[in-house]
Symmetry: C2
Subunit: 287 residues, 2 copies
C-alpha cells in the first residue's frame, strides 16, 4: 500500500480528513483550523543543519498549511524529542529559530511536550482562525476554473537539500478567500498535489501552459520534486499576475472528467511526486 492508499484507508475511518487543516468551531464568529506536521532527523533534516533553521522550518511547514486554508495563524504547540547528540545550545537555537518566526506571524507558543530520544523528532501543531465558513478547501474546484500557482517551483528539488527556509504564503492565502474556489500548498510536488485537489473536487485538470520553473531547476523538478511550499489554487475569474510582488501564474484549467485525472499538454499524465512511504522503502541513507 502506498501513501495515497494508506491515507484513503485512514480518511475512511476519520471525519472530514482531506484538507491541509481540520476545521473546528471557534469563538467570536470564527472557525479554527488546525494542522500537525512532523520533522524527523535523517528524513527532513540532518545533524549538520543549523538548528535555528530546523526550528524555523518546523513551524514554517505548519504555517504553510494555515496559509493554504486562507487563515490567520494564532497559536502553536511543539512536541520535541531532544536527540541524545544535541547540546543545550542546539536545543535553545532550535527553539529560538522557531520562536522568531512565530513572533513575525504573531503566533503564540502555548504548549507542547518534551522527551528525549536517540534521533530528533519535532511535531508542530498550528492553530489559525478564519471567519466562519470562509476557510479555503481542496474540494471547491469547478470545470472552467483556472489553475494557478504562486512563486516558482522546483528549487528544493534542484538543490536536493530539504532544510532550506520556507516562506509560508500567509498574506496570499488570506487574500484568496472569496476569490479562489480551491486551495492547497504544494508539498509533495505539483503533479501529485494537483491530483489530490482534483480527487477532492471530483474534477479533472489540464496543464497546458508553461510552469514557473525556479532558476536552476528543470521542468521535471517543477512538476514533481516537491518541497515548494507555494500555493496551488483554482479560481473562476481573472486573477492579478502578482500579489504583493509574488508572481501568480496560470498553468491550466479544471475540466469535467474522471476525478483526479490530469492531462499534461494534451497527453494523459500519471501523477507522481514524493510518496513518503515509497521513498522510505527505497531510501537507506538519510538525505
Amino acid at each position: 500500500m502506498n501513501e495515497l492508499g494508506l491515507v484513503s484507508w485512514i480518511a475512511a475511518r476519520g471525519k472530514g480528513i482531506g484538507d491541509d487543516c481540520a476545521i473546528l468551531p471557534g469563538g467570536r464568529g470564527n472557525d479554527l483550523v488546525i494542522t500537525t506536521d512532523m520533522m524527523l532527523e535523517a528524513v527532513h533534516f540532518g545533524r549538520a543543519d543549523p538548528p535555528a533553521l530546523v526550528g524555523n522550518r518546523t513551524l514554517a511547514r505548519g504555517l504553510s498549511d494555515i496559509a493554504a486554508m486562507g487563515a490567520r495563524p494564532r497559536w502553536c504547540l511543539l512536541s520535541l524529542a531532544v536527540p541524545e547528540w544535541a547540546t543545550e545550545a542546539w536545543t535553545k537555537s532550535f527553539y529560538e529559530g522557531l520562536l522568531l518566526l512565530a513572533k513575525q506571524h504573531r503566533t503564540h507558543l502555548v504548549g507542547g511536550d518534551l522527551s528525549h530520544a536517540r534521533a530528533a523528532a519535532a511535531d508542530i501543531v498550528v492553530i489559525g482562525e478564519a471567519p466562519r465558513g470562509a476557510a479555503l478547501l481542496r474540494s471547491g474546484a469547478r470545470p472552467g476554473d483556472g489553475i494557478y500557482v504562486s512563486g516558482a517551483l522546483g528549487a528544493a528539488g534542484a538543490r536536493k537539500y530539504a532544510a532550506a527556509q520556507v516562506e509560508p504564503r500567509l498574506a496570499l492565502g488570506r487574500w484568496l478567500r472569496g476569490t479562489a474556489s480551491a486551495c492547497m500548498d504544494i508539498t509533495d510536488g505539483l503533479s501529485l498535489d494537483l491530483h489530490r485537489l482534483c480527487l477532492a473536487s471530483r474534477v479533472s485538470a489540464a496543464i497546458d501552459r508553461p510552469l514557473p520553473v525556479a532558476p536552476g531547476a528543470t521542468f521535471e523538478h517543477a512538476l514533481s520534486a516537491g518541497d515548494d511550499y507555494e500555493l496551488l489554487f483554482t479560481a473562476p475569474g481573472r486573477i492579478a499576475a502578482r500579489h504583493r510582488g509574488l508572481a501568480l501564474t496560470r498553468i491550466g484549467t479544471i475540466t469535467r472528467g474522471a476525478p483526479g485525472r490530469i492531462e499534461l499538454f494534451g497527453k494523459p499524465h500519471s501523477p507522481r511526486g514524493y510518496d513518503h512511504l515509497a521513498a522510505a522503502k527505497t531510501r537507506r541513507k538519510p538525505r
Copy 2:
C-alpha cells in the same frame, strides 16, 4: 540543564504554558483545551509491543491530559512516522487500536500527518471542550486544601514496562469541575508532579497520609516511578471516597510556604521522578 530547567526556559518564551492542556476560545460558550504528546519507539514502546496497544496508549495519554482539565474530548489528529520495519498489518493495527479508543470516547480523528522513518514516532493531538472558564488548572490550590489522588499508584513502575493500557480518568475529571481547586494527571511520578502543581499554585504541600500503593508496587514506586495516569487534585471541601467505583484517597494538605516545597511525613522532600532529559542521558538501552 534538566527537564524542569528547559521547560521553564521554554515557558518564559511562550504564553500561558504550564497546564496539561492549552486553553483557546471555542464556539457555543465553550473553551477548547488542546494537548500534544509524543510516543517514540525505544523510549515509550518497543517493536515487540502489540501495535493495537501502542495505538491505544498513544491516544490514551492525550485523553489523560484532557481528563486533567475536566474537559470532554472531541477531536484528535495523529502525526505518524511509520517505521521501515513495520508491515502494513502493523500500521493498520496501530490505527485500529487508536480508533477503537477514540470511538469509546466519541472523539473524531480529523487530520494528521504521515511520514516514514527508521524508527516509529507518533504524536497525538487531542482537542476537548469545557464550559468557558471552567477548565481545571494546576494553579488554583490554596493552603488548607486537601490533596487527593485517584486509583492506586506505582503499578507501571513495578512492572518496569511502559506499554500497558492507560485508562484516562475522563468521567472523574468532569466530575471534579467546580469541586477541585487544582488538577493534573500523574505522568512523571507523584513527587515531581505535586512539586509542579505547587509551583504553579505558589504553595507548599505536606504528604502525611498513606499513599494508595498498587498491588506489587512499593511506596517508592508510588511516590516517584511515574506513568500512573491517575489524577492528582486538590479540593477545599470533603470529597467522596469513591467516584463510580474509583478510589479517591486523601494523601495530604496544601500549606503556606515556599512555592513547590514538599514535606513527606514531617521531613523536607526533594521532588524526584521521571526526568526525560536526565533519563535519556543515562539510558543507552531502550526499555
